[in-house]
Amino acid sequence: MNGARDIFRNGILRQNSIYRQVLGICSTLAVTNLLANTLVMCVALVFVVSMSSLTVSLLRRVTPQRIRMMVQVMIISTYVIVVDLLLKAYLPDISEQLGPYVGLIITNCIIMGRAEAFAAKNKPWPAFLDGLAMGLGYTMVLMLIALVREPLGFGTIFGLAVLPESWTRWAVMAMAPGAFFMLGIVIWVMNLIDPPAKEQQS
């Protein structure tokens, strides 16, 4: 049984979902061209992954084995819809911009992965922390990518202009390829700083 500190270190660094496990980038990479959108998506994801892990763990003793995947999907979808409803009510502009990507948190491999790999076999509090840690590790990387993409692509940070009008916007950063390249660079740098141990390469 891991202590809280171990769980956090694992989630944020050792087994970081993005540059180590390379999971779950699907839904959020698309919105990393704007910091505000990235932040909202990440907060939404942290909420869903931690609450889902908590719920799956709470129900782990009573969930029938054969349908546990369906149960996980149902729990995750419910939390995602909760987020979607709340966003529509309290942050309608951002909800509009995020479009279908909020819904796509359901298929985010991290959430299903953690539910299956950790939450289903551990007590509620560690499961919750694990979800939280994985979510935070995820947030860290995506905010970093957005921190490069938004200024280069739009000349702004959180919508505030930080570069002069004369700055030629890098369309490549505002569009898809930029996200791929940034992700590749992040993976590269993080693997250089903290090389994965032999046992963790599976």
Partner: protein, 181 residues
């Protein structure tokens, strides 16, 4: 048999709990959502009429008329009208509020308020500089979108560099204003 039955019952119970929670949240946020949409649209109408962004003055200055499936906004002081037009964009439908003067000959203002065009390229249609170009354009002759650097007539506006398709779609959308005014 018992296991399968328990599986089914469990699934059913879980679905009910989830559906219940979601329905509860939906009902409690519904009013807010409708209010949000209404105020958002009203702000677009104010923008199209070139009025200050003050919702408190909305009802005193503008009359909302709903008729044959469409809603018009009438600016009481000048007789100008505003309405919503929609047309296919590059990726998804583009929705705009257009305000025309009382004679229905000139565009007073336009607000592209809902679209899914490429951010930074086609998405720039909702930037103020682009929308401002349409003010004063006449409806009795074609309003063309011309690439910057091309021959621009008095009733033409600048298209968006790198967004040829979106610009074309906007041109088609503006054409339809004539049919609908």
């Amino acid at each position: 048999m018992k296991k399968a039955l328990w599986s089914a019952v469990f699934m059913l119970l879980l679905s009910c709990v989830c559906a219940g929670v979601l329905a509860a949240i939906k009902i409690s946020t519904d009013e807010r959502v409708i209010q949000n949409e209404k105020t958002a649209l009203q702000r677009q109408v104010l923008g199209a009429f070139k009025l200050p962004d003050d919702l408190n003055g909305f009802d005193s200055q503008i009359q909302t008329i709903a008729g044959d499936g469409r809603t018009y906004w009438l600016l009481i002081s000048s007789g100008a009208t505003a309405f919503v037009i929609s047309g296919m964009g590059f990726w998804a439908p583009i929705h705009a509020v257009v305000a025309v003067d009382a004679d229905k000959t000139t565009i007073l203002g336009i607000r592209f308020f809902r679209h899914k065009e490429t951010p930074g390229l086609g998405g720039r249609i909702s930037e103020p500089w682009f929308m401002r170009q349409f003010e004063g354009k006449r409806l009795d002759s074609p309003i063309r979108l011309v690439m910057p650097g091309g021959q621009k007539g008095p009733n033409d506006v600048d298209a968006i560099t790198g967004a040829t398709e979106t610009s074309r779609k906007v041109e088609q959308l503006v054409e339809r204003v004539k049919e609908l005014r």
